[in-house]
Subunit: 291 residues, 5 copies
Amino acid sequence: MIIKRRYGLSILFREILPPLVILTGWDCVVVILFQIFHQEWMEQPALPFSLMGSALAIFLGIRNNAAYARWWEARTLWGAITNNCRSFGRELESLLGGQPSLARAMAAYPYILKSSLSGNEPDSAIQGLLDADTYRFVFSCTNPANALLYRIGQKVRTLVEERHIDGAVHGTVDRILSDLANAQGGLERIRNTPLPVQYSLLPKVITHLFCILLPLSAVQTLGWITPLGSSIIGVLFQMLDRSGQNLQEPFKISPHSLPMLTMSRTIERDLLQPLGMEYHPLPQPRFGQMP
Amino acid sequence: MIIKRRYGLSILFREILPPLVILTGWDCVVVILFQIFHQEWMEQPALPFSLMGSALAIFLGIRNNAAYARWWEARTLWGAITNNCRSFGRELESLLGGQPSLARAMAAYPYILKSSLSGNEPDSAIQGLLDADTYRFVFSCTNPANALLYRIGQKVRTLVEERHIDGAVHGTVDRILSDLANAQGGLERIRNTPLPVQYSLLPKVITHLFCILLPLSAVQTLGWITPLGSSIIGVLFQMLDRSGQNLQEPFKISPHSLPMLTMSRTIERDLLQPLGMEYHPLPQPRFGQMP
Amino acid sequence: MIIKRRYGLSILFREILPPLVILTGWDCVVVILFQIFHQEWMEQPALPFSLMGSALAIFLGIRNNAAYARWWEARTLWGAITNNCRSFGRELESLLGGQPSLARAMAAYPYILKSSLSGNEPDSAIQGLLDADTYRFVFSCTNPANALLYRIGQKVRTLVEERHIDGAVHGTVDRILSDLANAQGGLERIRNTPLPVQYSLLPKVITHLFCILLPLSAVQTLGWITPLGSSIIGVLFQMLDRSGQNLQEPFKISPHSLPMLTMSRTIERDLLQPLGMEYHPLPQPRFGQMP
Amino acid sequence: MIIKRRYGLSILFREILPPLVILTGWDCVVVILFQIFHQEWMEQPALPFSLMGSALAIFLGIRNNAAYARWWEARTLWGAITNNCRSFGRELESLLGGQPSLARAMAAYPYILKSSLSGNEPDSAIQGLLDADTYRFVFSCTNPANALLYRIGQKVRTLVEERHIDGAVHGTVDRILSDLANAQGGLERIRNTPLPVQYSLLPKVITHLFCILLPLSAVQTLGWITPLGSSIIGVLFQMLDRSGQNLQEPFKISPHSLPMLTMSRTIERDLLQPLGMEYHPLPQPRFGQMP
Amino acid sequence: MIIKRRYGLSILFREILPPLVILTGWDCVVVILFQIFHQEWMEQPALPFSLMGSALAIFLGIRNNAAYARWWEARTLWGAITNNCRSFGRELESLLGGQPSLARAMAAYPYILKSSLSGNEPDSAIQGLLDADTYRFVFSCTNPANALLYRIGQKVRTLVEERHIDGAVHGTVDRILSDLANAQGGLERIRNTPLPVQYSLLPKVITHLFCILLPLSAVQTLGWITPLGSSIIGVLFQMLDRSGQNLQEPFKISPHSLPMLTMSRTIERDLLQPLGMEYHPLPQPRFGQMP
């Protein structure tokens, strides 16, 4: 995630560069053919551009709103993971009487979730946090994050039985695990369900078509400054389209993805620090981006 | 659900082909009558197109937003089914002490829900997961999914009584069943309550009318390229209209419906795998679509 | 609620017929006065129509969105009634040990709520479901649905005391009653709080004004086809306005109201069928409408 | 709150009258200066009105949506007060065994909340519902509604101790008090946090500016009917602006404020009627408005 | 937060002054070059301004809606902090039997949260509310607010053990702490996750570009009044852009930030006043702003 605006502008510019170059090239071709070779069929001012613009605006409006909502929902669900991990840490101490190995197991949970969401190798921190037996069990399952919650549930049960803890207290702690399962399910839903193909694909196609037709409709009035005018407009619409694309897959590795490593480390710190245990430091931003 | 964009474009194109052919034919008729037979009454540039476009934009905007919201709500409710089935599996083990037959009964729940939502025959997997008595009871009721939750509730009660489990723990487990009932009710609500007829029907009618009138208003200025210009605009609005139609009934069998078989299999796997029991593998995507 | 589109179109058309006839008559008057009697003051092309259209679009946009949101919220709250009635049935059996008379009392609840929302006579089904004493108490109160929840709460208490049921279990069952009270309160809120008069009244007034001025601004360019062009636009805006009006009062008896009888019967069936008790069959749709 | 549309139109008209008179006066000045005194600098058709209109539309769109959302959220939170007061009444009887003085204290709660939200004197009904000691304690605090919830919590505790009621049951009842505290906090949030000054103030300023410039840009084409055309448009935009203003402060005394007295009386009735106790009747609407 | 509109207008005006001066200067340069030095390349009426305006409107629309939603969500989450602190105070008395030091510790919580959100020094009030040991522990952690919740959880546990309080009651109180953790996590999410750089940065850049090109396209028709017309439009769009910028970071010290000191003091008062303890008075608004 980009946290420094200074870098943000240059990243956005770099992303937009390839289409910008092609677009400007095409604009120049059009203006040269028209102004020098007098290919007058090139000018098409009568194309119903405003109607096309309306359709594009509806598409981009719905898509960008939906993409932003997906991104913010993903962030909110990661927030729920953070909050419930913290609350589990507090309840482990105040309701169950504390057990360091269980706090460490919960600290491993966001790392496991992170790797299954981004499709990467499991983070190296996991092995230090889980005991060997739990590690083996968790990674023998197809959904390791779900398996870890399952195993934590079993360990809580053992604790409850050993320490003769009240059923209502047990229910309260288990509610936290259910809330974690709900947040995890929400994150998997966002990863597994792409935006409908109508909204992820068509805006891009229409934007490109729009940019190709643009100089044809403008060359007669704008003349030699066509490439300038047409490029400004083209870049604006390309950026609008790309803003939606960047946000619609919040877990894909890109400068715009959610800072899942930072959040996992924050959870680990908030769980282990009050117990006086060691934890990994937060990562530093690189080139204005949080990993 | 389409998960590969490559296929998505061709599916969208195939859906749009019949209206596109008819539209282009009509455009050609208009241009020929006007350019060759000089039927000048064909040109109607003064038709108040921008006002018509405004009304259409409001209709399409509201409808497509509502359709997308229905689709995403349906997906979110299936997510709640997934999360609560998983949590039931965990609580069955950690709060109630485990019982494989009950885990299997819960694994049958999404299959039963799937068939009643899509109106298909019950999935063959159900018979392997439910014991004969439960199977008979469940399918003797008009709403089998509700009947299964009812029966699971009874079995939980038997377990609670046999194992002298605390009332608060019983309440916690029952809360999961209530959450499942809420999600199921939400899904049935979406299936049983179509979009109001104003928003499901009128956009389609107005879009068609709009496309029919389009060449009449454009033929004078566009001349021989009328079919091209008019078709581009027509296809855009047809696609906007169809995007909403595709999403407004998320359980109807189509390339755009929710991947209910995949989700049911995922739930079965997440419930039975940690117990070391057999489960059906996930289905493979076919032509870029998850079934 | 209209569930068949075929009927839907004819219902919508019949609703729009009276204003359509008046509008077309007015259009004809304008065109005749202008074309035959040369009343040239009739043409007012300079009226700032696009500004008026913008204001109307904002009004209609906000109103129709709000009306649809009200309608869908009402439907969702009825869904919550359905879900919680079902869950009460399940918990009555699995948590409290079952009592047929209490299941029947809960089955009467949606019927009572339905009649108080629509302002009709109490449904005849109620008398068969409630015992005489409860019936008398409930209808002696100004808010019978609230009184019934109150009485069900008392009966649950008696059950809890007789059968020595745990307090936590009692609390869980009572939570369902609170959820029902919340959904009921939400439905009463929608019925008792109309849309603000600015949004329920002004769009209608402005739409009519707009349709009256429309031919004045179009008669010069459109000439004899003014009534056609003007009517198409007029009908579109009338339908937009009416779409909002239809949805803003979801309990008023109309083809667009929520199918409260169908929902009440569904709840009755889902409550009584698993207990092997008799219930009323679902009503059949008439002319494509669910009652 | 206006519940009769007939009155609504006249109230809206009366509110809009002063600006309408001034506006029409200004329009007449412009048209006279232009048509009679030939002050041609008065005509400014080239002013970029459509751009100004776009900015105004964005401002009004966001503001009116936000104002309506505030109004509806306030109404929904009052609904939550209603529901939870009712549920408290039910639970007082079914979970705690009943106590008339506690039901009366809860019936006083909405009256106290109402007066602190509207900044009025405490309602006279409160003294009849609270015993002298509670009355003194509650009004010695800066936030009487909060103090009353606090006191009710203490009384519930006494009841629990006297009657040896289970802790889980106590927790369930206390949950209702927490839900009331949440709804009360939400209402105070809406009262204490006005819309950001950008959205409460700028739309008004821009609308006035827009209306002042309007005749200047229209006088050339519209001529003597300028005051008519300009006033229609001006009134529309003034009404749009005012619609938002009316809804943004839902507790301010105006015909558009929420019917807090009616709601308080409804709660009192629903709490005391099933216990066979006396209660104030609902107020009658005056001039189509519920107080 | 600005609570007096009178001051609001002047604050907004002061914020807009620098760009306004520069803009007007540039407008004058353009008009002088064009009118006096006849630099005719300065007039560019053909620039596709309406397309640019559409793209800008989509950007500003999405951004301002998102910024307002962030601001209101932040306010709502602070509301949840308020409500849950109050409920904790009530439950501390009615469920746990009361303990003044614990009420004071909770009163310190919003102050700690406030300073970590705004990045300021801890408020001086904290030291008076926490005992020395807790103070040291809390500020030895990286996330003091989380550490304080943790410590309060421990103290509640001690209370529960000493006074032999029921597990269900303990669970109910702990639920309040979890709700506080959820609200705190939400606030940290808003502070740590800026709006995506596309929506925080691009609207500003495009608005400036738009304002620079504006006089070029208007100078031919507007002539000497160009600076006036162009500035009005320019200021409108600058204000729209700034409205979003002001709201997107609700904790940054500015006249538009949330009144976190006022809210913290309110919580302290509502917690300590019913116990008859001393508390800080609410701060007074200065220049119409609540701190």
